[in-house]
Symmetry: C2
Amino acid sequence: MIILASASFARRSMLEAAGVAFTVDVAAVDEDAVKRSLRQETANPGRAAETLAELKAVRISARHPGMLVIGADQMLDYDGVWFDKPQSLDEARQQLITLRHHTHRLTSAVVVVRDGRRLWYHTEHAFLSMRNFSDAFLDAYLAQAGEAVLGSVGAYQLEGLGAQLFMTVEGDFFTVLGLPLLALLDFLRENGELIP
Amino acid sequence: MIILASASFARRSMLEAAGVAFTVDVAAVDEDAVKRSLRQETANPGRAAETLAELKAVRISARHPGMLVIGADQMLDYDGVWFDKPQSLDEARQQLITLRHHTHRLTSAVVVVRDGRRLWYHTEHAFLSMRNFSDAFLDAYLAQAGEAVLGSVGAYQLEGLGAQLFMTVEGDFFTVLGLPLLALLDFLRENGELIP
């Protein structure tokens, strides 16, 4: 049995669609606080994403002895700054103004833990270039997308209205959505959880 | 008003999710026959995809004077062979056996027509590498995915169970799904159909 230690709808949907059988169990982790603490230790968003993914999985692992627990995390960084999920529409607006007309990086990490021990991890990057949208567009975008933007670091969902924010997207499909799925499927196959 | 001249659920979903207002109107085009005829004229799948996309849009355009009509097409080629949608599960199996352990190319074209005249087009490629899956996997895949595979050239949907077929995917998110969405949004903005 596989446990997904993530509350993300996108991650759950990707794993389900790919035909993986799992259940969801999520730990309460103050991600922003952990990120701030990691920021003191490392300038590497990939390392931070791996650590957060592992932390989420390890917390859950104790409740599920012997089971594979999948943890995942996604970081957004631009110009040396790490972004958190916006707390308000005002903060979402500020994030989008900062990212406008620039290329930012998404880093998605996935970790598999069993009995509190990390068995495997994988990290991938994607690069997304926002266009130089108008303030009128930004107003309309926030009005139409609404509170849903607070669920995403960077205040957008590429698979939704957020597509209108972008010029180009470079990187793996699944990595952009927050889970390096193909690498994870490969690990699950090698561990006898999927037909090879 | 914008018309989408495609019956593809994936294309409609992408455009809707991106916040574009449109209606769907689809022409009856024997795509496989047109592809065979284009194959005589060109060895270029991109050119063929553009021609098919334009044909679909032009046929619809006459019914909608003055409106922008979006046509789209996707081609899959590998080793000089162009693939059609499989007609049966046996044919799906043959396609997957041919593509197994190799990298194939997807070409997605989008064309915008008004009053029968092509205003704009855009073509993008993606490269997908299938893993060397077992025959046991192939049996299980076809049994589980079922007739749904007949709806896709190559007999897979990357956003579904098809993810288990692949090692790596290189190319734009939307292009893989059959519509170079970001370029299309750019065209619609420049033509006053979306807020810039």
